[in-house]
Point group: C2
Chain length 134, copies 2
């Protein structure tokens, strides 16, 4: 198991901001929102994010260069997590599908590849933002 130390002040602040945000936040968004808490430099944010990601509490959305708090609704295992990101409203849904995970693992495994992390990000339109069909 990963060592589960208590979060430091900076780490807690960053995590709280992400949890209370409506959607993904960039590191600089976070910095701006934490200036009133004494944050002054990007590195303070990036360092906190690094630890939070290592502990699985935060995910980085590669295609947005932004970060979200982990929803925690999926199996706590080392399954690959996927995201559906609405290009219109920015809403993000997090999910994990074991079949997807297994198939991807199998494909790379057959070639001797050892998977460490994965980014699975689907971009499109959420229901609310889709053009009406009726």
């Amino acid at each position: 198991m990963t060592e589960a130390r208590k979060l430091t002040r900076n780490q807690s602040l960053v995590l709280e901001k992400l949890k209370s945000a409506a959607g993904p936040l960039s590191a600089y968004d976070l910095l701006d929102r934490l200036r009133s808490n004494g944050f002054r430099a990007p590195l303070q944010v990036y360092r906190a994010l690094k630890v939070l990601m290592e502990r699985g509490k935060v995910h980085r959305l590669e295609s947005l260069s932004a970060f979200v708090a982990c929803c925690g609704n999926h199996g706590h295992d080392a399954v690959m997590v996927a995201f559906a990101i609405c290009d219109e409203c920015g809403q993000v849904s997090e999910f994990a599908d074991e079949t997807v995970s297994d198939r991807l693992q199998q494909w790379v495994g057959r070639r001797g590849f050892t998977a460490a992390t994965a980014a699975i990000e689907i971009r499109g339109l959420c229901e609310a933002c889709s053009p009406q069909t009726n």
Copy 2:
């Protein structure tokens, strides 16, 4: 079908560089390699990349902020493409798996989400870079 115009000079140059590269290249890598061809500004690269990606000739690796030529070995359809990226040597394998594609489509579809594009990137160690086990 997507209009298949002939590539312009800049677009061809960028595509050729990507095809002949050993691995993914960043936009600025490309710029440096194309200075002898008259390239002077990042925008010349980014504009060519944009068109090449729209035509499916180039993929962007979100987790690297880099670009690769499409291998063309997978079904030419609108299937989601996946990548295995070695964190050690930078080698990239491109592949498409219909099951993965279908499962992801199903998951988001069930929630009324309309998928437009996807990024599936697995990071880890390729066979050659994995620690020996024998």
